[in-house]
Amino acid sequence: MIARMLFGADPFRNIRRLQDEVSRLEFPAVNVFVNQDGVIITVELPGVRSEDLDILIHRDSVTLSGERQTETEEARRGYHRRERRRGRFVRTVSLPFVVDPNKVEADLVNGVLTLDLPRAEEDKPKRINVKASKEAGRG
């Protein structure tokens, strides 16, 4: 190895790192935020171009699929380290309510996808105004 990357003196570090690596099963990682009018989902997708990403929305579920390319032509002389995830991924996220697929906004900025999913009008809770009729009330 021409260039060796050295780390600190902790001998268990690599073991712990391996454990961490094994435990990261799901890719990509997803955060979900809600309020009564909609859901915002943020997804860590570093290196995924928008043309390689497919977003499918059906009622109350979102499916993200795509491909992450990390291979480059200049890397053929060999890797010293290869930790980054590569290959195809598919993830489905269930939402707490039905969303309107026509109003969804998707933004991919700095490797983070933000999906703004407004709640479908017909799924929103409706407030019922009770009319107090005088005859019935005071009768």
Partner: protein, 154 residues
């Protein structure tokens, strides 16, 4: 030995409705940097970015995943063969929303490498695209052997 300097926020009390995924997984997306560096003065999660490192004809290339990092928040230094990458990431919780489910946390990125061999500091090319840092570090040209003249002292 470095102590655990990170207080993790956001793992507590997850409010899940029945339609959400049923189990709250370990926050597995990024690797905490607790193992690497000394204590920090600010309480903020710091993560070790995943990297690919490979050799090219002219030098080394380091590719690091830094999701959520804008190029302005990035600091790359090379000092005495220690290459440091530090990225400051802005908090992403949208205003007016409450967190329902969390798999990754937002925090800074930090990682250091000790390079062997001499590299040309001025020739480093750093670029960021889609949350991925690409660092091309050229090797320093072989220093021409310099002959030391020995004076003869009578």
């Amino acid at each position: 030995m470095a102590k655990r300097e990170i207080t993790r926020a956001g793992t507590k009390g997850s409010k899940q409705s029945q339609a959400m995924p049923t189990s709250q997984p370990e926050l597995e997306g990024k690797l905490s940097a607790e193992q690497d560096a000394g204590e920090r003065t600010h309480e903020r999660p710091v993560f070790v970015p995943w990297v690919d490192i490979y050799e090219t004809e002219t030098g080394l290339v380091v590719v690091a995943d830094l999701p959520g990092l804008s190029p302005e928040g990035l600091e790359v230094t090379l000092e005495k063969r220690v290459l440091s990458i530090y990225g400051r990431v802005e908090e992403d919780t949208p205003a007016g929303y409450s967190q329902a489910y969390r798999e990754y946390e937002v925090g800074d990125f930090e990682r250091q490498f000790t390079l062997s061999g001499d590299f040309d500091i001025n020739g480093i090319d750093a670029s960021m695209k889609d949350g991925v840092l690409h660092l091309a570090i050229p090797r320093a040209p072989e220093a021409a052997a310099k002959r030391i003249e020995v004076r003869s002292v009578s």
